[in-house]
């Protein structure tokens, strides 16, 4: 068992690690100097790839070959996309997708 001090140090270490990953780019590429071309390129190229990664990350525990075979996830994503292309806004597709997923896992699957 950790002592209280050790627990506080552990929390402080985790806070420090998180802050250092969040501050690092801003510290390395300060506002005053111009950013290297390669970094500017990464700044533009990374987000789309990261959003794809975050979607996969959210779905990482979905098993296509057992349980509900990922069908509720697939259906709810289709609903989300359809609502997005229909309404062209953010809130309705998120709400619609989530509610349909909840209904699917609670009542259907």
């Amino acid at each position: 068992m950790m002592t209280l001090t050790e627990r506080i140090i552990t929390i402080a270490i985790c806070a420090f690690a998180t802050m250092s990953t969040r501050f690092l780019p801003f510290l390395v590429f300060s506002e005053k100097r111009s950013t290297p071309k390669y970094i500017t390129y990464l700044g533009k190229a990374l987000p789309a790839a990261i959003f794809a990664m975050l979607i996969v990350y959210c779905l990482r525990n979905v098993n296509l070959f057992s349980g509900s075979n990922g069908i509720p996830e697939a259906l709810a994503i289709i609903v989300t996309c359809a609502l997005y292309f229909w309404k062209r806004q953010i809130l309705i597709p998120i709400a619609g997708g989530t509610i349909s997923y909840m209904l699917l896992v609670q009542f259907v699957f």
Binding site: A45, A48, F51, N61, I77, Y101
Partner: protein
Amino acid sequence: MTKTKRAVRRQALVAAFPYTVPIFAGFWFLGLAYGIYMNVSGFSFWYPMLMSLTVFGGSLEFVMVTMLLSPFTPIETLLLALMIQARHIFYGIAMLEKYKNLGWKRFYLYFSLCDETFSLNYTLDVPPGIDRGWFYFFISLLNHIYWFTGSTIGGLAGTLISFNTEGLDFVMTALFVVIFLEQWRKEKKHFTVLIGFIASISCLLLFGPETFLLPTMALILLLLTLFQKPIEKAGGLTADVSERTVNS
């Protein structure tokens, strides 16, 4: 006519709030779950409260429950925390331009750059007439407050809370899907999206759900670097902030 500072702030808050509603749902659900998890693991509500305030990163905070119940290993803790949080470096690189010239507020913006805040602040166009800095600031602050209050309430209430929330966690998936579609619409070519999917799916299959993030990030970085010339040449990147404002 110049608006008073208070009016500028209030308008930014009013403009920012609606966008944070899905995060409110997601963070209260996940935050409550996390607080309850800490409570049943034998921790007082001070722990989830303090951790949500200072660490403010969901995945690491869940892992920390196990850490805090294990023997004290500061170096391993540091390395594990750095590995879990490494993706934030990417967020910072992407936000370098948008977080420029924002005065003291930028330090809080750096501090609070979690997955969800990054997704919103990167993708959203600041509404016309709204102060950019305060808009980003309130998106970040509201999200931080949702996570903090959710996990504290969960820590206080423990197992007293029970209602059928099964599937509510999908709100985060839906958020990222919509953010993704917003990004998709802004791009002329979709090479980088393709790289993101190929890298994460192949790493997920190779390394499994627990450890695939780091190899995925390395692979994304490698592929983006290798294909920098063709991607730039084909115009497969999002327009600049300034260009986008003119177009919209």
